[in-house]
Symmetry: C3
Subunit: 443 residues, 3 copies
């Protein structure tokens, strides 16, 4: 008996080489975890040095005090230690044990303080009494400690000996950049923040996945340039924007990566003014099989705040798994390498790779002769016996959709969204049609 | 311990002076209730005279027969009395007892009629047998009585003595106008109808609230002129439109007020072609805490029918609580002062005041330098310790929304809708930003 | 007592002459059922000859081999018989018993085949073992039989005698066209396919209903020309398009009719680029009282595939009851005259007639003076006593909607959709307003 089948088989899955990350994502998270990062300082440099083992990262140092847009590059902060000790010499809180213990950008202090004086400098989480909170005091000329609320409650002495051995001094702000040129001057921007100390999901996950993506993409031919930025949040983005203002019109798509290592579903925050990046991410997530949610733009979050400020309004969205501020581990000592899962990291890597590939491969095609359907049969694109069945690869339906919408007005992404067919299948249909000289690429 | 707080506290509630009406709304309804109003006549004049105690109302008299658009100003109707008496002298129906008893614009009649002759002139509500219906016979050269169905059924005599002591004669149509100029020639139009006799919600509620709004606004500086019209329905609006046709392009927003004294949720009927008034009312109602419903435009209702006719197509909507024709008291003797509640009147007063204030204060702002976020900290607009918490006043989020959307293309109302934040909070954020020279008002 | 009533009574139902089809629809389906149709050949000619009894059909013959767009007109196929016989002479499968038994466009064959050889040419439906499938082998240089799976399973002999007495030879492709001119050069296109052998819903239903519609419309005055095409699917449409390419801009609306004889709810597949036909069909179905579903365009289906190809992109949708491929009788011997119901055919006839009438009567009106409402009373369009009640005919609300939207920008269909009022009632309102000189038709 004869039965109708699909025209040809195209494997929808990403090539095997792509499906597994080129480095141990979770291993990199664990390696970077103990380093004390902040807006500036040796921890940032050490982090970029480790990333530099995988990709040929360009390191930028920008001097303290440099004017950048409405801001100035801050003093550099470095810290060697910080302790709260009982008067009888017991070390109760120690930066060496966990770098979250000291408020970011704490100035040096040494002395004996009454409990009530110390209380003005202590941050705890009464609702999560066993966790250390993450707090910073940028630009605040202050000092402070973060500790478990239970520990603080057990500290009932009248006086404590306090010491923070830190330095706030002229130096520089450090960020990393890795650019892969494309055939055109158009670019995709991918960024993550690198200013958080021992926090794994926020944002060692972003650092690890972005490093792996950059490494994988390095060997490839591409239409669009790919620019990866490893930035201290806010001030790093502002500094980069200030120094690259004349070339921002090259950025056609952008993605900020953060909190992409936990096993929650994906959350994508749209760009400010709507853009192809929003449609591409939504399309990929829709066909990813993973749970996801699309969130409208808002002006709070990560560096999309800067890229999407009204004077730039770049087409940049933000991809997350759990959303900042909504998961209990957020900005606490519970956001540690155990909270981040190898499978989630790999899935994020794969999903973002699919998004980047889609953006690079999106094209507009035009039927050579669009009057009626072409006779597929004599071109070997139609099974002789009528009737067709959906299958894993290009179906006749995919090909019909492609041929119908190849009118010079629909990009492959437009088609994929209208037909609700994964982009890769329309891409494959385009290849078949191109080989059969039924369409041409619109220049 | 240190904990993050809102930037500053702005009281979202309307200033205390505004929150209580400047006159006894329910008292005014009760005072106006017994007066017999119609399209024309002494009842309208008496009503406007009472309103004139509160505001400096301009009274217009337009002669009967004057051509106004497709219409002519009707003869003036006045009535002194109307009775149905049994042949043995019992007064069964008496205009003096309730002015709804006589059909509006009844011509004079005196005589004895058989029950079946009289039946041609009697209006009742079989489904609401104890209520007097409200009916009119404008332009009909007719006479009639309205009475409870139960009463009519008890009237089984063969003959009745009928008398209506009325006059339909050349005179004039009367309407009231109160204009408060603004800094610009643009205007907001607020209207209500004044042609219904003893009906409280429809529309003594509108008259009372509009009077109070006009009174309160009188002492204020404003950008937009405010024009309050007290009009006999349909013919009054047509007359005003005819006489003011050359200046209609000044009307940027308009609101017809009717049935706003009962305790039902608000109902807002949109303008014909969509306008800022629709967005403003929906926004205010959304954040009012009161139940409400937005209804699409339709060509039946109150004077928005005239303002939204195709040749004018003005941006005028209609605000109601209960909707005409949908509540059992509508156009019956049950629409009396007890049906109208002081709290509902006050709430309507407050809500409409908020709408008018929003329209007057809506502005477009432009960031002086929109490249990236401004550094709020050095301007005292950012708490030194990161982390923020929503609060009653301006939150950091409000300020970020404002600064992100202050691109010269978003009005405060646009922002409030996109951010889903009450207008007043964005207004306060705008003040902060203006004081900090971060934005300028777009001229 | 006086009670308010509708302005005038307009019967919403279609005139009685229209409501019953001018021919026995189910009878025609039964008469055409036994004929063996295909893309070409004597069965198509015989079918068109029967249709020609009702309407003055123009028959086109296009020679085999003629180039039409990307295709060529195929050889003509005719068949006299086809059998599978057991070696002992029992006739097991016979084209004479059911024309679905032979694969469409089977080439001639005669000989003895082993069961396994024969199996390569046998089509069955294992899931519907008692039904004969419908299969074709256009352009395939093949032969084959279609039989119940149960029969095939009972055929366990080693060898069978096979004979197909057919001919594939130069000849011509045949299609029918019936054009009714209108006052303008604009046209409505209505098409059905005529290439299926003994299948009743797909598409004798379309043939019968289209014939009746053409017959009924023949005697009428119309604004838009009406072009009815009876086409072999795909190649027929392509042939017609090739030969009429220069005049395609006349087609303002188009409808492909298929599977409209079964009792399922209506399914309308929208045109490729959105058009008035989509809005008209949706409006008529919404007010038809029948269940229905609107489906977005897709490039698979009937000849809308050709009309909606990117080079033509005509405003053509497809009306169905059951959707091809989704009902178990589809493309089997169960799609026989019993599956098609007289009432369903009549309902389809009526519904499509209403759509065609709407398209022809859609107009744009403009108020002579749109400033305010016209005074309806002095024109006899308003009951003297205020208050109105919806009724079967034109209500005051219909008239108000019409007068409000007669601004030169809204067609009657636009109005009907916005007001959610059946088109016929707005049409009647338009007549009243036109008679009263309140509007004029926009030229």
């Amino acid at each position: 008996m004869v039965s109708a089948e699909r025209v040809t088989v195209i494997d929808e899955s990403v090539p095997a080489a792509d499906s597994s990350p080129p480095l141990d994502l979770h291993g990199l998270v664990k390696e970077l975890y103990p380093i004390n990062r902040s807006l500036t300082g040796s921890g940032v440099r050490g982090t970029l040095a480790i990333i530099g083992r995988y990709i040929d990262l360009q390191i930028h140092e920008v001097k303290s005090g440099t004017a950048v847009l409405d801001w100035h590059v801050p003093m550099e902060w470095n810290i060697r230690g910080g302790t709260i000790t009982s008067m009888d010499g017991r070390r109760l809180v120690d930066f060496a044990a966990h770098n979250l213990h000291v408020l970011g950008y704490s100035k040096p202090v040494e002395g004996v303080f009454s409990r009530s004086e110390l209380a003005q400098h202590v941050h705890t989480l009464p609702d999560q009494p066993d966790l250390i909170p993450y707090r910073t005091g940028y630009y605040a000329d202050n000092w402070g400690f973060c500790l478990p609320h239970s520990l603080w409650q057990s500290m009932t002495d009248d006086q404590y000996r306090v010491r923070i051995d830190s330095e706030i001094a002229p130096g520089s702000l450090t960020y990393g950049e890795f650019f892969l040129p494309g055939e055109t001057s158009d670019e995709i921007l991918v960024t993550c923040h690198i200013c958080h100390p021992s926090l794994a999901n926020d944002n060692l996950s972003g650092i690890a996945v972005m490093t792996a993506l950059a490494m994988r993409q390095a060997g490839r031919k591409r239409r669009l340039g790919l620019r990866f930025l490893f930035l201290p949040a806010t001030i790093g983005a502002i500094t980069w924007l200030d120094r690259n203002e004349a070339r921002l019109d090259r950025i056609k798509h952008g993605l900020v990566l953060t909190c992409i290592g936990d096993p929650a579903g994906f959350h994508y925050k749209q760009s400010r003014s709507g853009a192809d990046i929003d449609r591409a991410v939504a399309h990929v997530l829709r066909h990813s099989g993973h749970p996801y949610e699309i969130m409208p733009f808002n002006p709070y979050g990560y560096d999309e705040r800067q890229f999407c400020s009204p004077g730039f309004d770049l087409p940049v969205g933000c991809l997350m798994r759990s959303v900042h501020g909504t998961f209990p581990e957020y900005h606490t000592s519970a956001d540690n390498p155990d909270f981040v899962k190898p499978e989630a990291l790999a899935q994020s890597y794969l999903t973002i790779g699919t998004i980047l590939s889609l953006l690079d491969n999106d094209r507009i095609y035009l039927r050579v002769d669009g009057r009626g359907e072409p006779q597929l049969g004599r071109r070997g694109l139609y099974r002789a016996i009528a009737g067709q069945r959906e299958a894993g690869g290009v179906t006749q339906m995919d090909l019909l959709w492609f041929l119908n919408l190849a009118d010079g007005n629909h990009s492959l992404l437009d088609m994929a969204i209208r037909a609700d067919i994964p982009f890769a299948r329309l891409e494959a249909a385009a290849r078949l049609a191109l080989e059969a000289s039924l369409v041409e690429e619109k220049s």
